[in-house]
Amino acid sequence: MIFNSLEYIIFLPLVFILFYVFRHKFRVFILLAASYYFYISWNPAFIILILLSTLIDYGAGLSLEQTESKRSRRLILSLSVCANLGFLFFFKYFNFALENVNEILLAVKGSYEPIKAWDIILPVGISFYTFQTMSYTIDVYNRKTKAEKNFAYFALYVCFFPQLVAGPIERFNNLVPQLKEKADLVIQNISHGGRLILYGLFMKMVIADNLGVFVDSVYGDVAGMNSLSLVIAAVFYSFQIYCDFHGYTTIAIGSAKLFNVNLSENFRTPYLSGSITEFWRNWHITLTTWFRDYIYYPLGGNKGSKLKWAIAILTVFIVSGVWHGAKWTFIIWGGLHALIVLFEKLTTWDRKSKNVFIRFVKWGITFFIVTALWVFFRSSDMDSAVLYFKSLANNWNLELVELTLEPFLLLGLFIITDLATRKKNFAMTLDKVPSVFRGTIYFVLIFLLLSRSGTDMNPFIYFQF
């Protein structure tokens, strides 16, 4: 079940009604059952995996709290982290590792019968819920949070359906207290939740899916495209992935809001950033802060020598690349971001200038870099990414491509709405708008959603991670 499906349009109001019909003490079970049903609708077999992960970290949390010995605590933490990363490695990286082992052995031995790849299906959302459960166990280990004794609440923390498959990656201390709090049926929650769901669907179905049509056609034949098409496709992809992922997150936040839960913000107009460092403060915020808290700080952060600090930055970004997928393109993408962040830090490029012109130039350069690096992210493999840049250089002409005005107009409309909501989210921004104007905005968004949504509906891009 995906957010942009009829099933979800029926499922969400049903869960909403059931949630408020029952008394508070039963609501956790309603949400838990709904969340498991939501996950089972993808692939029933993988429910075992999520249950296993839940049991391991629930047990690890309780054991950590009851254990005083440092050595034992470290052992428990290691076992939990290894189990979580083990699942992740097997399902996500095993074939990638096998492929590379084959290549190395072939290079060393000359002739070699490669080991065949295994037929492994990636469980949807595994990268997200694994990181979420790991953050809990690490926080309990560091005594930043208390272990949860109520299994139902802990299980719900792992699988809360709005954010189960693609985040935001929530911390235990943010999500569980809200789930435990008695929720009253408040009009503002319905109104804000509904607005966010509408805006999220607009971003995904109207903007991302329409831009994706041209992007797919260009990336499907990179060698045959002229430079103008390649440039437009790159810019379109920047907005496609933003609207796709931001759209998903916004629907997730809106859905959770209906149950009186405020999920974490994941995007803050990242394309307005004046540096790559700033971009990462505003893009996929919950993942960035996860890496900051659980990798960057433990590696010393900016406290040690410059070399140590540089290694920490490189590690974070390369792990971030690997997190996105088992492909060299993601690793290169993460590595290049790391190098640019290091450059910015060493040259103080990331400091905000008061001069408007300089700020504009920095913004332009940042957008250019982010867009160029997305090429690695979007390409199916390194050869395709290299081919993209080669074609860009070799097919340099500005002949008009076969493209209607519609995606440009829709993109323009989105940019206006994104700018208008840069300080507060869409729902809160609408609070300050006169009701007639608000009605007009609803009308336009719903009209576009009904009539201009992409017809080649694709799953959310981040589901593959």
Binding site: L6, I187, S191, M205, L450, S451, S453
Partner: protein
Amino acid sequence: MNVVKYIAIRLVLGVVFLFVMNQLYLFTFWKGDINQHGDTLENLWVVDTSADAIYFGESSNFHVDEADTMKHRISYALDTLVPNLSIATVDNAGLHAGSYLSLIKNIPDEMNLKFIVVTLNYRSFAANWRYAAFENYLAKSELMMEPSIPILNRFLVSLKLYDYKTEKEREDQMKTAWKNEKFTIPDFEYNNVVEWDSAMAWQTWLNVNSNLNEENLPLASHYIKNFAFSIDTLNNERIEDLNSIVNIGSEKGYKVIFNLLGENTEEAEKLVGKELIYLMEKNRSLLVNYYTSRGVIVVDNFYEIPDSCFVDRSWPTEHYNYQGKRIVAENIKKAIEKNELHN
């Protein structure tokens, strides 16, 4: 109570919004969307509403042989053969009963039709066509053409709420049907497409059938995949759609003519054998009897088209040269006259 009132007001406003949006959609994007996702409907829009009949066809109607001097459609030939009737044409490649049903639902109420001619393509009952990749487009078209609220149709299309399947899923469906949809031929060892086709593929038949050689073996295989089946009137979706067309005809008060196209039985027998003809005949007679008993005029061209009239020689189709098209048109004309629809 406040919450209930809040939701109720919004639901009412939603209905009003929907009505206005639908009107706006019809005025702005609808025609463009139909052009993109359901272009066959455009053919119906240009039909003269004073026409006496509509001929619904697929590529057999408009495909022309390069060598032909006359490059007219079957429907055009028919129109000229019955000068006192005006017969309009609605056609497009790959259409089948489901597509015709969607179009027929959209026939303008102001039309005073005497009859409709619906092309009945034998191959369209086979798994090869029912589960073809092209079905995605046809299913999407059918949803776009559904006479309900156009803006909702468009939204349902964007949610892929039609019979959408990936190419792999379609291929799997087809292979499953070839294996599971059994048929019985007396004194014949194969009872499904997979077994029969495999035997062909292993070239064992080259020794059995002197008409087969390595060159025409793939064509023989196509004949099996396209023609070897047994129509199940309870589960074949084409039957369900054709039955709905018959019902609409009775409701609206016009006669329904099913134009069963001719197949190249000569070549089928030569390449595959009499067993295939046995199956084809069984299906043909089933279709003719089934629909005749339901008050439909069935024009049976099944054995009427000689081998020389078939244009495509590497794939079994119903693309005829003009002589073949003319035979079909004349048979329809005879049926019209026999049933006194021409007055």
